[in-house]
Symmetry: C2
Subunit: 230 residues, 2 copies
Amino acid sequence: MATSQPKKRGSYHHGNLRDALIDTAFAMIEEDGVEALTIRRIAERVGVTHAAPAHHFADKNELMLALATEGFNRFSAALASVMHIADPLARLSEMGRAYVRFALDHPGAYRLIMGPALSRIQMPVQQPTGVGVSEDRGQAASEGTREMLETTVAEAMAGRRALGGASVSGVAFLAWSAMHGAAMLSLDGMMDCEPSGDPAEEFQQKLEEVISFIEAGIALSASEVPPPST
Amino acid sequence: MATSQPKKRGSYHHGNLRDALIDTAFAMIEEDGVEALTIRRIAERVGVTHAAPAHHFADKNELMLALATEGFNRFSAALASVMHIADPLARLSEMGRAYVRFALDHPGAYRLIMGPALSRIQMPVQQPTGVGVSEDRGQAASEGTREMLETTVAEAMAGRRALGGASVSGVAFLAWSAMHGAAMLSLDGMMDCEPSGDPAEEFQQKLEEVISFIEAGIALSASEVPPPST
DNA sequence: CAGGAAATCTTACCAGCGTCAAGATTATAT
DNA sequence: ATATAATCTTGACGCTGGTAAGATTTCCTG
């Protein structure tokens, strides 16, 4: 969680600058988005001069990388909170809802972990915190979420092929793409068009249709596309 | 197309700066991405000082808006090039392929028109070029693509409901989300993981599975999710 | 065809950004 | 206790987008 408890403010040395920077930056991302994030602003808010962060992060990119790691952990936790569901199909649907909910509730964090804006080299673990727990952050979380998805899809398909002859990896890709696309389109305001009622409500309804479409396609055994009925 | 033919370089007045800026900026986007775009660099490349663009675009955002309009036109054209296909289901599939192909071939342009980075106010038309042709750029192109999609889906569904009871707007949303998500995930390098062979080839294969899944789900009439077969 | 107004471009400056170098201050280890 | 390392500050650099004032050209009006 990168908690920055012992702030020890007022003294020359901060005591726990690195974590404080990450925590503050994360809060700022949630408030004003990734674009508004600035080393100088983070430093100011933490109560330190603009050059201090350079001693903990060689680069702005390295800071962003650490932030993304933190964000991925939270995201992974949000998805994992649904893994207890027994029925794989229901679990998959719930994963989809949790996925989009996280993206919509934490737009900054989601954009950070999914978007570009950082050269995608996950850093090697730096702080082996404490007792034997190898905190394999970030990279592991990324792999973990992917695995959660793939195994759930595999369970749901139970050896059979899905609609259209789709394989496990194909269906997993579809589910991920659809959720990611839906979340991004909503975040980027591409859905704001001829909305008769509440746009958020309309979005939720369409999302449910998407989920049930995919659900049904998985539940069905493989079947070829029937010739168009004309 | 915003062609900047009469460059008239060397003289004090450029002659056609606005279009030249747009064209050059578009080329730079294709080369180095949206992030690397800078007013000063565009100006330098056009052969003009850094403050000159301010007389044609109040803001960098306004420049980006004009660029996005241009990009949307090209994108819309790429999709329209497939609208001649008679069978709506085949047309929809081909639209999906054209969609992703455009995104992968023009990452900068696609990111520009889909992403944030611009306050989404489409500008009012400014230059009523020539003879009676109301060039209703940008906004119209955006609406146009959406309409292309919705009508194609509607034709393909032919009044019936799709798999899982999905409506026309629901299926259109799914198709759009899936293609957008797939394109974005690929562009942002989220697919680079345990690829046994060529990653681009793997991506194409999965994309085909996604398309055939959706195709099949549309071709099928509405059917409820059967209870999990355990 | 003049001559003033408007458009266009240049020059010069501003604050903010990320980054680096050098010095001040504190912690740690020998 | 003293040297070494870690940490933070100060000050500077070049880059960015934006603005103001002046130079140059075009255009429109009388």
